[in-house]
Symmetry: C2
Subunit: 313 residues, 2 copies
């Protein structure tokens, strides 16, 4: 039984924390302990993860040093975050496996995700990234770097850069990842949804200034490596109908079609639960046996069908 | 015939340049063109690379943002640089392979390198890293962060942090890398000499504040993956006796023992040619067929024995 575990970026660097390396390693340990429990129960595990908070910090550092060092584009910053988070996960997994007497090789693979250059998202960038700016700074950045800047909050520092979040078409390295996974490696890949690349007119891959939803990318990965289950771990124990209202109700089981109906009815928060549900629907429609949304603490129970929201074909 | 190609960090980001992503991609392309020529001639290639200039920039960005974001330790910065450089190499290799009609999977593996916590280098840190500081700043950093600070240049901004450069004992992921290489993958690994880790008392791996010489790490990797040839690419076409003197003389062939004699006699620059020669000696003493030092432009001729310095058992 192969499971792709998709960890939220917030599972590793949490809002309100400083973001020190020790804090991140501590959160990684908590996630790894759950993964080890899955392995002990016989699951074959592959891992992917978000990178929002980490790439945000990398972007901010680039901005702070921009008077002396040219800021790196988003594809490079994404690659840096894959190295960083992959290293923490890989080292911690290896340590916990050794302690558990398990000899399983762990490998972090730098991963690109192909998107369509004609994706409509490129016409209307909407995903805010990086630091907050004043209106004046935002104006300069629009002019100097051609960035799209939106007001995203009230007050003085209310502007942020927005970039497109195109739909992931394909994990470029999926064959390698599948081979490794089939041979028994625990593969950590497609971090942050993968580094967004487009095929240019000459047929060559090129990084683009965009971000990819990590859950939608996780579905492409899970399908490509032949996972039975896509396990999306997030801050809540399950998906709800009427979330945040007086009639909030946990969802236990849904068919793909039922999930699609609720999604179309706007039951799920854009940018939070909606892309997760969308990823789950796609997964079961592409041949996956089950997609599960739950919290880290409920992960094992949810795999056994005793917690979380489960979407089946 | 398996070759491990070790690219210098300066081969990708050169001194005197701004370090923009496009510049780095251009240098990566030049390196990749040579690698493609090797593949066309039938060599099985694995790749490793330095990260000096890139990790220097990452450290500098960390320092610039330190008032609002905690600086990351060296192991994390090294992991970031592996992601960044690995991505550039991987994408460019893939593009050139496709153009050449070659279907070979390329994979970048985040790599740790184990060092001995009792390595004498930990007692006398000597490798300067990161930005330059004034004497006053250096004093603060000594106190606040316990950094070892040395004066490395005349003038106002003459101080730098120095860290240990312990001898690499083992590439932690060497079995995975060998498996992938034997299966025909072009593996990019051990970037920047690998992320330095020590085994702590509980037997767990832990990052350490150190840097690893990339050529010495390349030797460990080349030996572990069963490479026939270790090819070290650098700024000069070969090693010399009397380098920089009136009687400078290129070296064509050396046995391991001859190389050791010249090394002991101080013929080679510390921190430049000496570690490369040392890596070559170790490689042929550990069963490698030949170790070659040359420039990127001479790489193919040097593999054929028509250029560069060749060290044989």
């Amino acid at each position: 039984m192969k499971v792709l575990v998709a960890l939220g970026g917030n599972a590793i660097l949490q809002r309100g924390e400083e973001g020190r390396a020790e804090e991140q390693f501590r959160h990684v340990s908590a996630a790894v302990r759950q993964i080890i429990r899955m392995i002990r129960q016989g699951y074959l595990v592959a891992v992917t993860h978000g990178n929002g908070p980490q790439v945000g910090d990398i972007l901010l550092k680039n901005e702070y040093a921009r008077s002396i060092l040219p800021p790196m584009p988003l594809d490079i910053c994404g690659a840096e975050s894959q190295g960083m988070i992959g290293y923490m996960l890989q080292q911690t997994l290896l340590n916990h496996l050794t302690t558990s007497g398990l000899e399983i090789p762990v490998i972090t693979v730098i991963t690109q995700t192909r998107v369509d250059p004609d994706d409509p998202a490129f016409l209307t960038p909407e995903k805010p990234i990086g630091p907050y700016y004043t209106g004046e700074e935002a104006g300069h950045l629009r002019e100097e770097r051609g960035w799209e800047m939106h007001r995203v909050a009230e007050g003085d520092q209310g502007f942020r850069r927005v970039v497109p979040s195109p739909d992931p078409l394909e994990i470029v390295e999926h064959e390698s990842i599948r081979t490794l996974s089939d041979e028994g490696f625990i593969v950590i890949s497609a971090g942050g949804g993968g580094i967004p690349v487009c095929e240019n007119e000459g047929g060559k891959l090129e990084g683009v200034e965009a971000v990819i939803d990590k859950d939608l990318a996780a579905e492409r990965l899970a399908t490509a490596i032949g996972a039975d289950t896509l396990l999306i771990l997030t801050d809540v124990e399950c998906a709800y109908t009427g979330f945040g209202t007086g009639s909030q109700h946990p969802i236990e089981h849904l068919s793909g079609a039922e999930a699609q109906e609720l999604l179309d009815a706007g039951e799920f928060g854009e940018g939070t639960m909606a892309p997760k549900i969308k990823a789950c629907i796609r997964f079961v429609e592409s041949g996956g046996k089950a997609a599960v949304i739950t919290s880290l603490g409920q992960a094992l129970d949810a795999l056994d069908g005793r917690a979380g929201t489960r979407i089946i074909p």
